[in-house]
Symmetry: D2
Subunit: 349 residues, 4 copies
């Protein structure tokens, strides 16, 4: 079959890869109908070490069940499904406790349990993909919901929502979100859904700031506005109740500690790949909470799916580009370079 295959940093190719096959009774084979390029895919593009070459990349995908192993109970051939990007076994203590990302089976021996980072678990920017432990990781797409509306439940919509939950966003809060990319956009929407009085969206890209403003945020270009002063002015001098870092830069994390109020909560959902020198006394004197970690979409899908079904949340609002899978490499180039006012690229096999 055709797929976007990893070869080296910056060298992804649309080419033939081996067809996926069922390897266990609990596997399902999904024929992909829509898949998307995620900021995390860019880590590979930029040199995050991969153990193999030639595997299909991508962990955001939806599709139709082509074949289901005899041990699969929750879906069957023909069902339209979405997949969590994190594939837990569903039965270990970690999975039962809501942490599929810490699954003791699928992360054993150092292997990945996110799709699209190795030959062991190839990804979904492909015509088809094998999903292990399907009962734990697949969800049926309800009739009446098209594939594109379900697509971002696989990763970035739960990731953005998780940011708002970790920052304990609640009614009346002033929330600062660093980053107006795909994840930041959803963190902003999630903050609104949880009752924030103000969502202050921060970015350097005027196009993205305009989009943030259109979704009801106050948008601040931190290169031209004094963000600290802005936040104090909006909060009667107190500081932000919650800050969500959705970019992944250490200096923004430090900025978060500064603009948070005493008792504030910081959620770090952008992946920071370097150590961070923590200003401990600042955290101490301000009674701050810091949370970070991998997303577990399975936890959030039951709450987010009805919001999409009812129309209160439209995740397709972030899609700027739709390309055939064959042009996926071009999609990477656009996304990586922020060209063409790109926000999110969706591929269609």
């Amino acid at each position: 079959m055709k797929a976007i295959a990893y070869h080296a940093p910056g060298d992804f190719r649309y080419e033939d890869v081996p067809d996926p096959k069922l390897l266990a009774d609990t596997d399902v084979l999904v024929r992909v109908t829509r898949t998307a390029i995620c900021g995390s895919d860019l880590h590979l593009w930029h040199g995050f070490p991969a153990p193999d070459v030639g595997f299909a990349v991508g962990h955001e995908f939806v599709g139709v069940v082509e074949e289901a192993g005899p041990g699969v109970r929750s879906v069957r051939r023909g069902d339209r499904v979405l997949t969590s990007c994190t594939s837990g076994c569903g039965l270990c203590t970690s999975c039962r406790g809501g942490l599929w990302s810490g699954c003791s089976v699928t992360t054993a021996a150092g292997s990945q349990n996110v799709f699209g980072f190795s030959l062991a678990l190839p990804g979904g920017q492909a015509e088809a993909v094998r999903v292990p432990f399907a009962d734990a990781n697949l969800f049926r797409i309800p009739a009446g919901l098209d594939d594109e509306h379900a697509l971002f439940l696989t990763d970035i919509l739960p990731t953005g929502y998780m940011g708002a939950e970790w920052a304990e966003v609640g009614p009346g809060d002033t929330v600062v979100v660093f980053g107006c990319g795909p994840v930041g956009s959803f963190a902003q929407r999630a903050s609104q859904l949880r009752g924030a009085a103000r969502v202050i969206a921060v970015d350097l890209d005027e196009g993205r700031l305009t989009r943030a403003r259109a979704r009801g945020c106050e948008a601040v270009n931190s290169s031209t506005t004094d963000l600290g002063a802005y936040v104090l002015e909006r909060t009667h001098g107190r500081g932000a109740d919650a800050v969500i870092e959705a970019v992944g830069r250490p200096e923004l994390l430090l900025r978060a500690f500064e603009i948070a109020r005493a008792g504030g909560r910081i959620a770090s959902i952008g992946v920071v790949t370097a150590p961070v020198e923590l200003p401990y006394m600042q955290l101490f004197l301000k009674n701050l909470t810091l949370r970070t970690g991998l997303v577990n979409p399975q936890r959030f899908i039951p709450a987010l799916l009805p919001l999409i079904e009812s129309g209160r949340l439209d995740p397709t609002e972030i899609i700027t580009h739709r390309l055939p899978l064959a042009r996926g490499v071009h999609g990477y180039e656009i996304f990586e370079s922020h060209a063409e006012d790109v926000l999110k690229v969706v591929l269609q096999p």
Copy 2:
């Protein structure tokens, strides 16, 4: 001074009553600028027993501090303020625990701690009112917020919000709200603020249902639509996650138990004055939670005030009538009879 004074059920009069005076160092005298008629005031109108006659009624009011006792620290003469309808002492175990309605000082010896139900604590449908324990019960209205926007923080906006909190409304929930009156309307808004996927507003009055639809609810006239079937259809056969009863009728409480899903939560914020025969086995087999009680606006004002300041919540949307205080008795007649498509009557002294 002039006030709407209680004489007997159905007999309220706009007349002279004694001027309020400071009785303790912690009292404040508030000159009223806006006051409103609450559904609870109708209990007196309909015969709820009062211990006295001749007192000013009303517990929803905002105004300006005319005089503050020497023990008052948080406000001073000239401050624009709103008052919680429930006046706790602020220091007893109950008040410190967030339950001013159970204050062991202000409810001692059977006395009321809600304004406007006795000579001991006259109400705010008057030119002025004495507020005891001002530091515990008064809040300054921020500059930039007019009095009318702050008015409903005194009771019904927190009451509606409390309903959504007690019913544990969260992202993705389907919520049924019985009643589209002032409190029900705010319970609907609060459910949206807390992330409900669907708010199903139930009433018999088409005008009120139209208003509910305008605020984003699905509106159901339960006299013409099979509510149970409607809820099942909207929830893939499960039932409502949360039900808020904002009318105060036993039969609606029983209906709530029926339409709630297994594990559902019922908040009863309409005052039911008769005992209710509880279908215990239904609650047991469905794992239901039931919560009821008096509102404590002090708990909710810190979260709700910023939502009004930022414009995300506009409580004035429910106002249908603005009358001078002198025409307050007419306001009662309209409100009581549901005439003139009334939703909320605001009086101006």
Copy 3:
């Protein structure tokens, strides 16, 4: 095989019943090593309607896996296991949401999903039992823990714990527990585990009160002590923070509303089979919360199991009688009549 079989109210027989067999790929056959008689079993004994006759009764049992269907992943032949009394499918929305008792598969068409109430799902007071959806309902007993210590995780230990959770028992609370039977005893232990300052155990049976005292409770015989006055004296006049009704009598539920403080929480874990006339105004004026429902042991086992393993909790403390399965009917007679200072009867096949 041999089992205690239901024939009619008061007519249970130790006799041959058909051997259980696997009916589905996800079934497991458990050879029972220990089983216990539960207060809920007495409902059948006293006339709770059963749809069939001749089925094995009992829902508290542990044992060894004799045979596992090919779709079972979490246990295998030879594993020592305990079973939740409530058998959900594990994959429906209700089960995924933590409410196996509301499973849309196993409760479909009015059928029971608790073991031992019908021929459809025979119980564990038998030599062997079929457990459906084993991955959702079976738990391995850790090495180092004997069967008897695990036995009560199947129902009454989680039930007692659930009472403390539903009553939101937290550090410093004064908790009243009605009933010092098996479930009440565990509700008392659970209240202590959650940090209660005082657990006031109420019963009429002096032997049971003595046992409650030995486990660190204040024990009150409500026939000789004025419980209301006692609670007020212990709480500086406030009332109980939390009340757990573990007997199942309407009049005790009403008593709970009386002795709870304003803002108190009532958990009803004793099964009340009649409707209850709810004193609505009392609940309203006191801001009470009422919770009731079926237990879902699956939710509580992960927290309770380590407490037993570490020795902080010894559930065997309630066992007063150990009998061979052949003498199980005698066990019922003792338990039903409160003879021989019985608290809990364990049977051994």
Copy 4:
């Protein structure tokens, strides 16, 4: 009056200092009956910068109200009282929100709001002390509770409890507490109170480890035992659910990240005075939560006081030395040098 006065690092003197006087209507003068030396006092001893010299040190003290300003409502002359170490105004947004340590009034202009760190707010290792905003910061000691049992409610008992709360310790958890000093000891007790299955107490001092063992902990000397291996063995290979750092050393905080399980919670209640290089990817891959900050005893006293009253918690268990105030400097020397098997030094004026 006599007091322990600060002069320079290592130079504390028992000497005459000016008598405290009421400075505001809301002040109270407390005659001290018991006071204690806290680990935080050692920060001054070791060179933490002080703005003045000659002030009485100490923030843990109880006593009797000598004089109360006319604006004080909750206590009066003769009442036995305990004081929160953190003195908030009680009315600002931060105080109303439960964060007296972030009080916008008492921390204004950089001033301290902890007793005993400046001339602006002298401490309680003295014959008497002025307590500002008494209604917000003083609590009456119930009849039947002696002063010594109430003493540690002023700081270290709430601090230890806060650690357990921040680490979200719940029933069944395995908790590691670094440090068996006064605060660590109370963090261990609090973890037990919240239902921990195992509390693993870590220290280098065998005497303190023996005491930890006596209070029901598993005690580990990390210089002779491989703590990581120990924790994995006790948790079926998963790691600690919660870790509380009660020493204040960066390397222990890093150790905490290592031994926590995926999804674990870290509470840092020992004061780390240097920046900490945060191993960000470890926190990310393990989904960790980190909380730190100043204690707010006012939040915890309502829960902890009844536990002491009922006898479930005996805070005096940590007292090893009782000295007259006149020998307070000797107390510092003992405490600082870990001499005489010291755990906690109480002084009596």
